[in-house]
Symmetry: C2
Subunit: 397 residues, 2 copies
């Protein structure tokens, strides 16, 4: 089975590429290296010493004998090249990670807001149009986000896997309708994923494209069995204020003795998944595409939920580092509950890594090992959701 | 009150510009003349002999003494110039018609699909970001479409003005939630208006922008009291397969003795509004903006609903022209009911033109008068919703 991995150089894309190659898929990475360019813009680097794509692919070949293709291509700007690639390679499926993925970066300034919308919407729409124009029956697996649902909307009811059955009043009583769960994105980045949902719904309906949308929680961890084979295959680890996600940021802070930076009370509940499970979920999604004519197949790609303060306390207890409560640069509820349906992947065989299993290993093998590479001036989140909102000064000099 | 009219050279934009200028607003048109460029691409012209923007504005000044500004600017491509315009002019409000507006054109081919999404989403997002970045309190009035709701979704219940109260099941019973009416767009064009809704909801929530979204039915008619003052002020009238909307197309067909082209059975029910009422609705929306912090204010900008076949029969009876049932190039329900709430504009004073009042005048003063300009090879709709769908040959040579 031949698969294009769009965004295959990124944090989720690279380990997915290796996982699929390991499982016998014929993989071609399509990536314009935009994530590395944003590192240059932000003057920060992955905590882990990631290697250039060519070296990554050569190392994998050397260790396993398996070939991975690579095409440096901008999905938003190079439609005709992308269509040509589909026609030449005739892939069976596309895994689409090729979008700007950080909420704080998307709120950084007007240019970042515009880039996030232009890049994500145009790129995703180009993928859909190219599949239609190619005439090929290519299944699409897209990485969405739990953030499309917003937080706290449905009270005690679990957030369903994409679709919600509601009762609508009519003059004669009421009728039941299944709807896409109402969108309530918390940032421009999350908003682009809600736009993607409407693109997918239209192309599934009009052109019978086979589309899977994976609403993923916050990914933690760094390595998979494949990326851990050799240091030249190592996955990226973001710890900076824009791209560092909460749990990995805490792990790195613990490793260097930096206070754990909790925004507000830490009462925000979020969903989590280990990167090892992300790559398994992608494989499961590839193996279980919807049929032509089906609605978009939506999974909640989530294994656990925690309050942010619970995570901080867990790590503080393990490591002795203190907790710092900082002003929250986001506009969001101070506290929320989160109850997420996650039956679909479990029914299809996912055996999840729980947080308590993987945490210490992550601190030892990644955060501690590469802590010498950390720039402590990059840790505090500086992107604010509205002009004039307060952020913390650096806590460590 | 100073107002920018984005897309002020178009079919709705130009009569709105004159109406607002007539009512004492200080109006600046912002338009990149894209609609005229698409005429060149499609090798067709407005049935009415529209004049260049400069001549239009000079004529208005000559007749009324009123000044209208004009800035030739591409909203999707010239963000910085647009932001500079906001800073220089400090408008109180923006009326936004600046999007590609034809469903058949948006389905014409891959390039038109991509242009419609790229142009409409980027342009609208740029407007929102620029308002935020300007720091000015500029109210935005945007033209949406009834097509965001889809057709037939809620059975006998009237389509509400944007928001729907539904009951959501919970483990303990059910809770009520007000949601944006679920989107079910029938074309790439309509899809872009559903994307716009999510952009507006986010910027109303995050930045407290004051936004009004007008879900308009199919506009018919050509002239308003202002455009009828002088032939040099005449509004455009589209009759071709891509841009000609159903009722105006019938009027023009009746004028030249061409069979009335009904797609399928004509059982599709659609909502209509006369262009004279469009311009009044825009003024009402400008005079009644939401407060800062409110949700997006949504109106259904609709005065009547008819089945397509009823319109064809009405015009056939008045004019003696025959009806031709052609293959439907769209993917849509063969028949649908449509029950639309439209209380808000009526409560704010709209006194609507009904179809039976305006029809004969329209045939006499516009369709007959300019029928010599019609190109009969452009009448049949040729854009199909999926490759391989059938269209009719030309009916008149």
């Amino acid at each position: 089975m031949k698969v294009l991995v769009l965004g295959g150089d990124g944090f989720c894309g690279w380990p997915t590429t290796l996982h699929l190659s390991d499982k016998g898929y014929d993989v071609i990475v399509v990536d314009n290296l935009s994530r590395r360019e944003i590192d240059l813009e932000l003057e920060v680097e992955s905590l882990t010493p990631i290697r250039p794509m060519g070296e990554r692919i050569r190392t994998w070949k050397e260790l396993t004998g398996k070939e991975i293709g690579f095409v440096n291509l901008d999905l938003a700007e190079e439609y005709e090249r992308f269509l040509g690639l589909l026609r030449d390679e005739r892939p069976d499926a596309i895994v689409h990670f090729g979008e700007q993925r950080a909420a704080p970066y998307s709120m950084r300034n007007a240019a970042a807001k515009r880039y996030t919308v232009d890049n994500n919407v145009r790129g995703t729409h180009n993928v859909l149009v190219a599949i239609v124009e190619s005439g090929l029956d290519i299944a699409l697996v897209h990485l969405g986000t739990m953030g499309v649902y917003g937080y706290g909307w449905s009270g005690s009811a679990p957030i369903p896997e994409g679709y919600l059955t509601v009762k609508v009043p009519t003059p004669d009583g009421e009728i039941e309708r299944e709807i896409l769960h109402p969108a309530n994105p918390g940032s421009v980045y999350h908003m682009t994923k809600t736009l993607d949902q409407l693109l997918f719904a239209f192309y599934a309906k009009n052109d019978q494209l086979r589309i899977t949308d994976l609403h993923q929680g916050i990914v933690w961890g760094t390595q998979t069995p494949q990326t851990a084979l050799d240091e030249r295959l190592i996955n990226r680890f973001d710890y900076d204020g824009d791209y560092g996600t909460v749990l990995n940021r805490f792990l790195m802070q613990a490793a260097i003795g930096h206070p754990l930076t909790v925004h507000g009370t830490g009462g925000q509940t979020r969903a989590f998944i280990h990167i090892r499970d992300t790559v398994r979920c992608i494989q499961i999604a590839l193996e279980n595409p919807p049929d032509r004519g089906d609605q978009v197949s939506v999974f909640n790609q989530v294994t656990e939920t925690y309050r942010v303060i619970e995570l901080a306390e867990l790590i503080a207890k393990e490591t002795g580092v203190e907790i710092a409560h900082l002003p929250n640069p986001r506009r969001e509820a101070v506290e929320n509950d989160l109850n997420v349906s996650r039956e679909r992947f479990i029914a299809l065989g996912l055996d999840a890594t729980t947080l308590t299993e993987g945490l210490l290993e992550e601190i030892r093998d990644v955060a501690n090992k590469y802590s010498y590479r950390a720039d402590t001036t990059k840790i505090i989140a500086r992107s604010v959701w509205k002009q004039g909102m307060e952020t913390s000064p650096d806590l460590v000099s």
